[in-house]
Symmetry: none
Subunit: 258 residues, 2 copies
Amino acid sequence: MLAQQRQAAILDRVRATGGVRVSELAAEYGVSDMTIRRDLEALADRGLLAKVHGGATTVSPGSAHEPGFAAKSVRQRDEKAAIAARAAALVSPGDAIALSAGTTTAVLAQRLVDVPSLTVVTNSIPVADVFYRAGRPDQTVVLTGGTRTPSDALVGPVAVAAIGTLHLDMLFLGVHGMSERAGYTTPNLMEADVNRALVEAAERLVVLADSTKWGTVGISSIVPLERANVMITDDGLDTTARSLLSETVPELVVVNPQ
Amino acid sequence: MLAQQRQAAILDRVRATGGVRVSELAAEYGVSDMTIRRDLEALADRGLLAKVHGGATTVSPGSAHEPGFAAKSVRQRDEKAAIAARAAALVSPGDAIALSAGTTTAVLAQRLVDVPSLTVVTNSIPVADVFYRAGRPDQTVVLTGGTRTPSDALVGPVAVAAIGTLHLDMLFLGVHGMSERAGYTTPNLMEADVNRALVEAAERLVVLADSTKWGTVGISSIVPLERANVMITDDGLDTTARSLLSETVPELVVVNPQ
DNA sequence: ACTAATTCGAACACACTTGAACAGTACCGT
DNA sequence: ACGGTACTGTTCAAGTGTGTTCGAATTAGT
């Protein structure tokens, strides 16, 4: 693999998942840590990503209303990976699915590029990129339209209208917060609208939320907890939350990261 | 094997796999490293691929990294720049405009990032990127939805439906070909559909076409020549074409690229 | 058939990339 | 505050890749 290609691939990953780890990249591409560090440095010099201790993150796009987002996404990396792996198992060849915007769904996207004949609808440009770069002619990727948020999601009436004409088997919804009272929430009002439209368009709702999301409440509610058919989270959830969720959500899946 | 054939084969491979290695090509075609390097250099000079240490990659591996896009539109660069400059003069602050996909419209986009309070609708991801990178909060950029073509345009029923709900002051349409009989044409059927929807949604149609487009006919017609309100082209047009266009199009603008 | 032009390969000096080793630094739990 | 662990950048050596220059071989033109 050419150094250039490796760097491009790293950049893809950072953009899609929000953060990468030096050790993980070194293992994946079969090169030394130092080589990865030098790649990251080259990319950072061009302003394409930000080097941090242990890896790199996006150059901080959504940090305006969400400080510490990038760093956090690195920390919850294992949880997201485990959740995504479990979610991918729900998808069968030929399915028509939707993926909301978010780092967890971006990780999931990477696990779905090998599913044959998949149709994917998403309002996330990075998620669409993941499939587009895979270049599989049997897969169809539909971007909803709309205006772009700082986190590369497409929102607004155009997006909602586009989704209204579609019908999907399953929606994988990444959320920013969940609580008993507010249900699933996000900090962006327009994004909540789009997510609600996605929920309406899909037969089944699968919510992806690592355990740190519990108790977080964004400004805008998407749907109440019980609307989910499946929820996938990790074992960092405290006992009360877990029992409450297992009573509320028809199918609660708790994965064990690592 | 002829040098020409070898170069064509190399280009195919780069396009298919995203990247090639000098050593690998030398072994495969049974020629020396130097010959391969000279091949790559020749192809790179024509803007068909990008030489990198150890081999070569596609000229723009994926989404809009600025250098890739610039290199891609190297053909008729001066003409496109002059046309774009003239087109930009038609836009006023506060306008709601549409930009089709294409290299010329991408150049135009770069000249429009400083126009205050602009609303831009486009089905081109690179064009949207240009505005997004500028990050002006007073501008609104709306991406139509749809599936992605290899040239990063969004097409299909979702795109057409999204456009149907919008009304724009002006459409800047970049075309792949134009002729008396076929009108404005593009090689992609789905893209023609989207372009037609954009034409319907806009009050005025401004066609951007450098002189080399005359006589080129793509598979799919968008609209007839006379549908344009303004056409901007360069002075490379022959006399018969120029007189024909000036009779057909209400306003024909011929720019002089330097 | 002769000459000119082009293409190719070999050799060279130089530049780049990589991995290992090391000393220093940041993070984390106690 | 402390120490252990993991991560960092620097330096160096080895391996690759690079362009230039030259001569040989092939091709094209007259």
